[in-house]
Symmetry: C2
């Protein structure tokens, strides 16, 4: 079992990278091949992501296209883009020939339009070429953009034995046979069948007698997030994709959906953290700045707006200038409550666990804010009065403002994502800096208005 053990326990060490770099430097192709062929293509991709471009291109040109096509799919998008720029259209076409249609279309879609046409013209297998061209026409955020053309289909008139004989041919092109789809003569989806059903059935049975008519499917223009939800909810490992006439067009497999789920979660997380593009820790400072600066600017304008509000009240505050010391308390509380409320709503919307009644939800948040607010305000009252020695009336003012600000922040944090969602905008943009900035402003304004009302300055 030692071989498989290595397979799992692959570790991307500095020593390994150095070893690869040395073999490339001395053009020791034989040892390099022997070393790399022991690794899974996903592991080789990790190595290529670490070494420099010239070295990576060297490896890609060294290995056979059956392996390198799989490696290309696993590479970081940035690395892949750079490597493809160093390959000719014909070389890329050779990689494409080895790939499933969905992966092939994904790679071609990353090329410039001019290059796309050139690469496609070099694909020798005309059926493969036509299928890829078809897939390129679909929006990448739809079921069509995610599906592969590779699938196994049978007609309901076939017998089990005839079916087994015939799918042997089809199955060779399909890496994993999840389901066998049953279609009529017009290629309309009628139902499905698992390989297990086929093996368990008697060989002279008709497909029509054993197939399952209730098959889940999605339309080709369905949003990928919706596809992910359906496949998760019903625990599907593959789902057929049909057009409006229920013509079978392709299938989507769970491994692609896992990527969709992960990317979606990463995107929401980054939006909540105020990062506006899909970046990684290892990206360039320029790319990271582009992703981070916009939200910092929004935060800055919020801060300057808060300064404006303070200046308005400052001139009249007189003896109550001590109120200024507690601005950070108000601001932190408003921000934290807003982020909590919006995060729960955004997650609920993403998981479809939030039902429609917006008024009921806002009332619940207000009540929740009241409970949290009173708890925070009581502690605040004691500490500001006894530790900071502020007069009772000022401590009471701060406490009342805390309750009001918490309720208000909870309502804003709940309302904005729901509002955006109803408008068809991704509610995840209304988390993080967006909600903290607006809550900072409203919170500080509320604080001073309440103070003015109670203290009468």
């Amino acid at each position: 079992m030692s071989e498989e053990q290595e397979n799992i326990q692959f570790q991307l060490t500095d020593e390994l990278i150095e070893q690869v770099e040395n073999l490339i430097e001395f053009k020791n192709d034989k040892d390099l091949k022997t070393l790399l062929m022991d690794f899974h293509h996903a592991d080789i991709a990790e190595i290529l992501d670490e070494i420099n471009l010239e070295e990576a291109v060297y490896v890609i040109k060294l290995l056979d296209s059956e392996t390198t096509s799989d490696i290309l799919i696993e590479l970081d998008e940035d690395t892949r883009e750079k490597i493809l720029k160093n390959l000719s259209a014909k070389e890329i076409a050779e990689e494409i020939e080895e790939l499933d249609t969905d992966d092939a279309a994904d790679i071609i879609a990353e090329l410039s339009e001019e290059r796309q046409a050139e690469v496609i013209s070099h694909i020798e297998d005309t059926e493969h070429r036509d299928e890829i061209t078809e897939l390129l026409a679909y929006d990448e955020d739809t079921a069509g953009g995610l599906m592969a053309k590779e699938l196994v289909k049978v007609y309901e008139t076939w017998t089990v034995a005839g079916c087994l004989r015939r799918i042997r041919g089809q199955a060779k092109d399909v890496r994993r046979v999840h389901s066998i789809y049953v279609v009529d003569r017009q290629n309309k989806l009628k139902g499905r069948l698992s390989l297990k059903d086929l093996i368990v059935a008697k060989s002279d049975q008709k497909i029509a007698d054993i197939y399952i008519t209730s098959v889940d499917y999605v339309f080709v223009d369905e949003d990928v997030e919706e596809v992910a939800k359906i496949m998760q909810k019903y625990d599907l490992e593959a789902i057929p994709v049909v057009d409006k006439n229920y013509t079978l067009l392709g299938r989507i497999t769970i491994d692609d959906i896992v990527d969709v789920i992960r990317e979606e979660a990463d995107k929401d997380y980054q939006l909540a953290a105020g990062i506006s593009q899909d970046v990684e820790a290892d990206d360039s400072i320029w790319k990271l700045t582009k992703a981070r600066l916009p939200w910092l600017l929004i935060g800055m304008f919020g801060g300057l707006g808060a300064a404006g509000i303070i200046e308005q009240f400052n001139d009249h505050m007189g003896a109550f200038v001590v109120l200024l010391s507690f601005v950070p308390l108000i601001q932190a509380t408003a921000g934290n409550v807003g982020v909590q409320s919006s995060a729960i709503v955004v997650q609920g919307l993403a998981n479809d666990t939030i039902d429609g009644n917006i008024v009921k939800r806002l009332l619940k948040e207000a009540l929740l804010g009241l409970v949290n607010g009173i708890a925070i305000a009581c502690i605040g009252l004691v500490i500001t009065h006894f530790v900071f020695s502020t007069p009772y009336i000022v401590s009471i003012t701060i406490s009342i403002a805390l309750v009001a600000v918490i309720i208000m922040a909870a309502i804003i944090g709940t309302f904005i994502p729901i509002f955006l969602d109803k408008r068809g905008i991704d509610p995840a943009v209304a988390t993080g800096p967006f909600i903290t900035t607006s809550n900072d402003l409203f919170g500080i304004l509320t604080y001073f208005l309440i103070a003015k009302l109670i203290l009468g300055f």
Copy 2:
């Protein structure tokens, strides 16, 4: 296709729930059964999550255990717990009989220890009972806690034909046959085989000649997150679980891993938003308060700390009291930068895209902070001076403080998660309110120290 169309387009409407509630009220069992049996068990679970407990128990007792066992698995944990309390140990055991071992063990694990023993004693199928008891012994966060005992295994000495004949028996108990595992007489994992390989092979071939020896596997005590990473990286749909001697114990399927990925992402998202337990928008106010108040308290103590810092400087500030107006600007900027930096690190650690060199990473963050800081400071300088008419020296002070605070916040936001990770603590706790609170304090302190240095009060 109308039947399947309903299947996909299931909508949990108020009308549907009312209809179900009416049928229950009038004990119209026949129509209720007819209505519900058209739905997928995951859809019925959604209905039960919405109606009240008595009604849900009524439905569970009405339908046959083959359906209800599947429904139980799909229910919200809270709803399931309540329903199980209303079922006898014998009734629960009947549900358990219908379930795969992994789901069965999950449900039993949710019961009190006393009840667990009672339910297990009612399971009639002794093999099923022993397997479930075995699974209950594993930690739920390990491969053992996630795996199922249901799998198809063959010996390498068998022929393809003999194999097909024999697995027909085994396959009946296994919902989906992903892979067929090849074992030796001691039940040690030797390799794998897909059903497709078996069908494509000639019937008199030996298994030993066609099986794939390089099989991915995980050890039974492997962390589930690690299992998820391996299955994602290598695009696996099932993975065998072995003990230290490579004895085949069970298998984990991708649908369970999808749940692990989703839960992990949800948990990180909630931690970043300052919510400390796994809560949903529909949970009770009490449960939501317990999850939210702790972080609000941390934020509050941060705010009070900031007030303490301001009070210290306030007495000596004299003419420079205008500095107080810009505290929210400093605070918002420090918080936003900190959250951005920590989120990128936390995500990088979760996806294994961050390598070890901590000094290099901190230097990069400092440089990034400098770039962002200078951009923010320049705009801040212009606006504070020309819009707010603060004296040049004050505007310059604010700008210098902004640069310093941004660099510092970036370094703290990067350092803390990496530090926690090295200590074996989940770095995700160091996002959200944790990082904003500490950055608020350090930011405001830095601001006034710089102001004191430049303005000399």
